[in-house]
Point group: C2
């Protein structure tokens, strides 16, 4: 191996305006460059406790078990599903995009009996549709996605908690892409479990997943408790239900690691934890409501700009996430060529789409550190220039003027 | 929440001389403070390909599938075990410490039929003992730990590949704590899968796990291929064996994400990848053999120093890992009090022990960035001072002189 071919990390400057990951807040990267601590150092366990407190704020919950799962967003999803679903359990998944399919897929791997309801991509469910399905299926768990970036839609959740309670159903949502940029009220909405990710509205790098568990969900998980052979003592008792089919994602063990017993499990990813702490600290410093309003402001400015360029948007705008917008690729325009020019010549990334929307829709994000006016204006102006270059005509400057007008009327 | 109570990350300065995590190389932390890239940015996929090439060097392999699993070391272990073990498969685990128990635990959760052989903590197995057990059990997989920090022992592996080949057994080792500080020859020793971690000899923070898979192991995993609903096309075919009971750890999917198809799975933890790349780059720049020799030099200097202080060591020194040493806590000395004073008053962390060794043995590491003379000398001098303070008598300066003598005779 000629090692001289491998230079220092020196990524090109990019403005990441896709559906995530987005640019990390530089303050988060600085926090992550701090030197490490031992996992049982009092300074480290103090930081772990602070992370729990901060994410209680972010999730709007009093849940004791508000912790990090070391892995990307789907590690948080899988930890909750594997720990909560017993083989044979019935689950209901309202699917309105790719990440609903992912919940089904993970649930099937947990050997659940998976039931789905579907709406076309670009729509969401009414509470009645979900209640009807719950009556019919009688699931043990309702698995929802709050914001599905594949369609840019935000599923309203506020009425589902009461429905779940009425029928004795555990209520989970995947808030990976929505948390921090859209209202989420864990306790007020009766959620039993929520998972999230860093690389969207939280403004950090992918790599750790904040989750929160209600006391009821904790009780469900504790019934499947296990303690590892190499560290178990005579005082440890296992639960009476079948063990969880993963050690890494066994939330019983992970709670014992974050709890006062500090029972060794994995070695906490300290750098990722430092980053997650800073993301939450900055979010609480700004104020959660103010941060959500900021996402709404810049998301709407982007929408106005795109409309001002004469482009069509995708999906039901009444249920759009604040932080991502689907833009229909105009007839005769090569979507990938446009993305390539925007990336290579302007250093700006916008997103492609999956599945049925592939080749038909771009996805443009305004989230986390990039929910800013300068990011919106730069993206609109680069997109106008590239579209003009490839032959799509629009009124010069109309996109930026529409965004300016929006900012002017919302100052 | 009173957010003013949460200040910037500002960890106390610590010299981490336990069994890991240890201090990260500052160059690794700097690499990790780089701004992010989109996951399909050509610059990002180029870095992913470089990571594969660099870790082929570190693992001493030509294996194409040499990649990162986003999670801590045990994420790498679990990804391999979950993907390779089919429910009902027989596995053999030679247990010589806590991490052998962990392999059994994970294998049981994969619904394997788990068979073990055991030696007392502080010893390792002969190839004959393992061959006899293979003949008796006829397992599909042999699951080994190379270096078990719980006992500080290094299991010799070089003869096991031929034995596994003779009996048609897949051969895995957990090299979390040994890779980079002790010889590991993936190809020459006939290993089918190896997993590792960042926070030991590699000198980075916990949070991503490098793994390598032989072509034979790839074939085994491909039989269980799945493609997610939300991104599958008519061209995708599933394998003919039962699917893997995890989405996050489905190595078939993870290979398709790292391979030319770049099929979306998780969002790669870019910051962790930047760190892992820098760890491997620094290691290859130093030269793998030179790095291992450095671990041996400083590990032995620590051993001589500890012996010079009149302290007993734990386990069979012929089979000690280069990078960690078990030190028997002397009669009448409170091991936790000593660790506390060394930490609080000298800023140096040494390790406690698990299970049968708890309260009886300290574990002192010399690894990664901390396999250095100054780290060895500071640790010995702090330990001598604290032991003297709590009433354990030794000859003043003898520990440091023994280390100096060792360095002098190995210059």
């Amino acid at each position: 191996m000629d090692i001289s071919q491998f230079s220092q990390i020196n990524p090109p400057q990019r403005l990441l305006m896709g559906p995530g990951p987005i640019n990390a807040d530089p303050r988060v990267l600085r926090a992550m460059s701090s030197q490490l601590l031992g996992q049982y150092d009092p300074a480290m366990t103090h930081y772990m406790n602070e992370v729990m407190a901060l994410y209680r704020g972010v999730f709007r919950t009093e849940n004791r078990w508000t912790i990090l799962i070391d892995g990307t967003s789907r590690a948080g999803i899988e930890a909750i599903l594997l720990s909560a679903i017993r083989p044979g359990d019935k689950v209901l998944v309202p699917v309105f995009g790719r990440f609903g399919h992912l919940l089904c897929e993970i649930a099937r791997r947990c050997r659940a009996e998976v039931h789905t309801i579907e709406v076309p991509w670009g729509e969401v469910f009414t509470p009645d549709q979900i209640e009807d399905a719950i009556k019919k299926v009688q699931p043990r768990l309702l698995l929802t996605v709050q914001g599905d970036t594949s369609t840019t839609m935000l599923q309203p959740l506020e009425q589902l908690g009461a429905i779940c309670q009425k029928y004795g159903v555990l209520f989970y949502t995947d808030a990976t892409a929505s948390l921090g940029g859209n209202v989420l009220e864990t306790d007020a909405w009766g959620l039993d479990a929520v998972s999230a990710g860093m690389q969207k509205c939280l403004g950090g790098p992918s790599g750790t997943s904040p989750i929160t568990l209600s006391p009821q969900m904790e009780a469900v998980i504790r019934k499947r408790k296990c303690v590892e052979e190499g560290i178990r003592t005579a005082d440890h008792q296992d639960g009476d239900e079948e063990m969880i089919y993963s050690n890494y994602f066994d939330l019983g063990m992970i709670m014992d690691y974050w709890g006062p017993e500090r029972l060794n499990h994995h070695t906490e990813a300290t750098t990722a934890l430092f980053g997650a702490r800073e993301c939450a600290r900055l979010m609480m410093q700004e104020g959660l409501d103010k941060g959500i309003a900021r996402h709404k402001l810049h998301g709407e400015a982007m929408l106005k700009g795109i409309q001002g360029m004469g482009l069509e948007t995708f999906g039901d705008l009444k249920h759009k996430m604040n932080n991502v917008l689907g833009v229909v690729i105009p007839q005769g325009v090569n979507g990938d060529q446009v993305r390539k020019l925007v990336l290579e010549d302007f250093g700006i990334e916008i997103g492609t789409s999956f599945g049925p929307l592939h080749g038909k829709v771009w996805r443009i994000g305004t989230m986390g550190y990039n929910a800013r006016k300068d990011c919106v204006m730069q993206t609109l102006s680069a997109l106008e220039a590239v579209l003009n270059h490839v032959g799509y005509r629009s009124t010069q400057g109309a996109a930026m003027q529409a965004a300016w007008d929006h900012y002017g009327s919302h100052a």
